[in-house]
Subunit: 217 residues, 2 copies
Amino acid sequence: MPSGVDKPALQVLHCLVEHVGPFREGEHLFRAHEAFGAIFAVRGGTVKTRLIDSLGREQVLGFYLPGEMVGLNGIHPDHYPCDAVALDSVYLCRFSFRALETLAARIPGIQQQLFRLLSKDIGVASLLAGDFSADERVAAFLVSIADRFAARGFSTSALHLSMPRSDIANYLRLAAETVSRVLRRFQDQGLISVAGREVKFTAPQALRALARNVLTT
Amino acid sequence: MPSGVDKPALQVLHCLVEHVGPFREGEHLFRAHEAFGAIFAVRGGTVKTRLIDSLGREQVLGFYLPGEMVGLNGIHPDHYPCDAVALDSVYLCRFSFRALETLAARIPGIQQQLFRLLSKDIGVASLLAGDFSADERVAAFLVSIADRFAARGFSTSALHLSMPRSDIANYLRLAAETVSRVLRRFQDQGLISVAGREVKFTAPQALRALARNVLTT
DNA sequence: CGCTCCGCTTGACCTGGATCAGGGCGCTGC
DNA sequence: GCAGCGCCCTGATCCAGGTCAAGCGGAGCG
């Protein structure tokens, strides 16, 4: 959990934290419509959230990297509004929400932190709502993933994508073919170098320039 | 404020509520980057939230009808992330957020209500993120507005749009011309009847069918 | 009255990205 | 070994919706 929670609060937190995992690729942390009971912090691996609509089509809603929280958006309707699926081997901390909520009433730090996390998710969701070009979307996706890894101390010049192209495409509301073509073109333009799921940033500034309109939203 | 807050809580609430308005068409409730201090409940009129990007282009983020809350998404960064502009004559209740937050720590009802409202906004934001056709978007927009008016006891068979076509189009990430054409076609198909900003629903079920994929997300 | 302005509509055309179709490569299992 | 299967790439075609350009009608106003 990010800063803003002091030492004593953290100790109390330990009482209601439970280490869970590993989940294997394809396994569910929770499913849509299940009763809402807990939120999860990713310790290792990657999680995607998604929705299956009435026609059986998948809608990818988000990716969660180590250090990030999954499941917050289940608070309102009191049940999870989406599936959460492991993309590789995933390790988690499980926070019982009932206990957390009670605790939040007494420790202002936690309450504020929850408000912050919730409010932040709204911003991220609206990130994809704009009408951006395929180039802007893909650039913003790469920059966003890179920044989030960087915030956890990982390399800033290269990254490993733990999801297939089809998930990226679905998340960005593009066709998989388009993602493929854009990545190819970025490579031809010298912005990145791609080998399967490994990406190196060769001109990070130029990539950021492309992503700017999307991310400053 | 919706149900879920009991009588005594409401009385305490009255201490920190302030009636403000009227705001005239085009006036700002708050602007992006201003310090976050309060959330607002619309009593009358319509508010739009929007963002002006670095190139000066407007992005409409949402519309708020009587009975709805504006400004919640300012909690996280501690300043408002968007402008809020009156579309007609707007009357509001202003809630100081500092006081509300302190109060929330003591009265569980309020805290839960805030969590619910925040969490609900996430859902609404992701409503526009999907890749839907122009028809689906326009239908969903009309149904959504109608339902929200209906929830406040207004007519279910007709409504008045208080925003220009260009705002609707911008919000739905379409061109104004497209909105115009879709409305025209809906009318030709007997789904609605349009006269300027007045809309009558002549085949509400068919319209709902079109909107279903978008709204059940 | 007639004028201009602005929101709205309509038509003609263009284009970014979806779709369709095919092919390669690296798994795993036999 | 090779067959089968995911995943990924690439080219050819198509179309929804954007863009451009032009009228139209109501509101404010000299």
